[in-house]
């Protein structure tokens, strides 16, 4: 008998029929003799509908009141799911974030979990109840409701699994697991049986939107065994662990990230401190920079290019222009017509030649590379967005044969 945390996202509980399906999965797990803690998101479009209700009244509501509003979404999901399990004759109880004792900081809208109470959970589990917990929410030191921001319910699930020392944390999604590439782009993509935390982190940050980075980071830190699997197809998914058995696998996936804008500062003075000044300006505006490229121009000038998330593009340009005199660039060039293609693999470190094979695949597909970035387990290239699919197919074929 194990203790299993199961998380279901908003699309998995979107309507009565889907809630019944989810209840079936939970019931099966429980009836196999396991203790089950379930974490749910708000139903389907509930969160968007609530945000729309708020905007009608106040386009800029305080984040505190927005969290008060949005947290009702998960509360509706958990009570409905509990009712579905009651219908199956199983002992069940739903608990909100504050009832569990999920304590966060006061960063409304994007709060961090500080601690998780286990007393109430243990008490209910000891009575062999299925416990359904509202994801995405907690309370701060004032007892005010906070929400955890993007990927919040995954984070709740991992935090509960860590606090309860659960044997497994299952993240149910609408895909069957983690693939070597997005199956919508590469239909021949292969489902992975296992993947390491680090690989998963790189894939998540590269746009493979299966798991949010925060939850993977937390799982890695607390050694929580994750499994990503489908709420529609009953078969094993992808296990995310510290170390996998797949020693011989060089790379575990190809990922695409189109949420990229490239900014180039042209005509910078070629003197020490230029880069430092630029990236300090951006850091002060809370803008994350990804790939950076520096090249020499004519007339003792140089050019610095870098990529940011599309959402940060305008803010970045504004911050740079406001500091134009200090930074001393002549021109600024902005484009969001690029995308980033990456290969990820923990086995990469021990295998020379991986980068060469990737570039070979791109050459064969006649794709021009604008920027390159590498880490221990990742190689990324910036290419024109219209070449994205061709590039991914060629790389996937090169490494996986299909």
């Amino acid at each position: 008998m194990a203790l299993i945390v199961q998380k279901f996202g908003g699309s998995s509980v979107a309507d009565a029929e889907k809630i019944r399906r989810v209840a079936g999965i939970i019931a099966d797990t429980y009836c196999e003799g396991h203790d089950v803690v379930v974490v749910l998101s708000a139903q389907g479009d509930t969160t968007d509908e609530l945000i729309e209700k708020a905007r009608e009244i106040n386009p800029k509501p305080s984040k505190r009141e927005l969290d008060m509003l949005l947290s009702t979404g998960e509360q509706i999901s958990i009570s409905l799911c509990a009712m579905a399990l009651e219908k199956l004759g199983l002992p069940v109880i739903s608990l909100t974030g504050w009832q569990v004792g999920i304590k966060t900081n006061s960063n409304y809208g994007n709060a961090r979990i500080k601690s998780v109470g286990t007393e109430r959970l243990r008490m209910e589990l000891d009575q062999r109840k299925i416990v359904i917990v509202a994801g995405f929410q907690g309370t701060n030191k004032f007892d005010d409701i906070t929400t955890l921001g993007r990927g919040g319910s995954d984070t709740t699930a991992v935090a509960l699994a860590a606090a309860l020392h659960a044997d497994l944390c299952q993240i149910y999604t609408d895909v069957e697991g983690v693939y070597t590439a997005d199956p919508r782009i590469i239909p021949s993509a292969i489902k992975l049986d296992e993947i390491t935390f680090d690989e998963m982190l790189e894939l998540a940050s590269l746009g493979a939107q299966v798991l949010h980075n925060r939850s993977v980071e937390m799982a890695k830190r607390y050694g929580v065994n994750l499994e990503v699997l489908s709420s529609y197809v009953r078969k094993p998914g992808t296990k995310v662990k510290e170390v996998t058995n797949m020693e011989d696998t060089k790379i575990s996936g190809v990922a695409k990230d189109s949420d990229i804008a490239r900014i180039a500062l042209i005509g910078l003075k070629d003197e020490p401190g230029t880069a430092f000044k630029i990236f300090r300006v951006l850091a002060k505006s809370n803008i994350n920079v990804d790939i950076i490229l520096q090249s020499v121009g004519g007339d003792d000038t140089k050019e610095i290019s870098f990529t940011v998330a599309k959402a940060d593009m305008d803010a970045a340009v504004q911050a740079l222009n406001e500091n134009k005199a200090v930074l001393g660039f002549k021109d600024i060039d902005v484009s969001d017509k690029f995308c980033k293609i990456s290969i990820v693999g923990a086995g990469m470190i021990k295998s020379p030649g991986i980068a060469a094979r990737m570039f070979e695949a791109l050459y064969e597909a006649n794709v021009n590379i604008h920027m390159i970035s590498t880490s221990e387990i990742k190689i990324s290239v910036l290419i024109d967005v219209e070449h994205a699919e061709m590039a991914m197919q060629s790389i996937h074929k090169k490494f996986f044969g299909v």
Copy 2:
């Protein structure tokens, strides 16, 4: 400067425009220098929609989970209303039942308030914030969410007013106050400036659905000054107090109650203990009996008739039939074609002849009386339902001249 509790019902906050109107009333009160605590119900049909969602999944959900579900309705209202006040630039905070510390017993779906915390409320009021509280909800000793049942938000408002020793508790509705009769039946009905708690209690229990009895009873017990007024028309409503100045007013209103079923037990043995046995059976089934009439039949038998709420009719008949042998009646006659017309007035005690005038009015309208019941401040008659309007008009004209 006073401390005022204002309660707005579901129809007053049904959409964005109505919430803005409510926010305007609150803002005006606050800007006059008062401290304001607001209690809100769920928006319009939200509660019904949530119940429908539940029924789709489980026609008989546990009351505990139903309360978990329904309590989200008020949470949505309070956050939206707080946002509307933020838009007006006013300091405001919304609080759920558990955040305020509204403690109830564990009777899910119809819980009773046991205590109200004032610490958080005082803290926010001390900072000159408008405090918006979710009505209808509290938590029990397990920290589980409970709801207060019918009239729950009125009860929350009065409980907060009592706990905070508020100067006034205003109940905003879609009518301008308490009338001498239902204006939909008697268009010439007169709005009362004042009314006593006892009169209000009789009127509420007689079907004048302005205030729920629970809240009036609580207001009477804790000496909370109530005012019933309109959320659409800005003018004084009706004050509900312990003693009013209207010494000369004999009666304060005429009320109709159509939620009546009459049950007659025919051919009972005319011996001691018959009535006791009958009403013990009903009490055991938790059925409230209103008017009781006993008459002598032929052959040493008697007949006992009484009225119950329509919802209890089938249960009453079933309970009586199950005990037919013990009770020893020959026949049972049931009808819901009656209604109860009552006149209410604290001045009645000191004024003989009130009953005679009421019966005279009914005689003039050619209305037959089936049963009569009187209390210190009330006279009720049971008549055929199709005579209801005629009877009310005649009585209203007799006492109020219009």
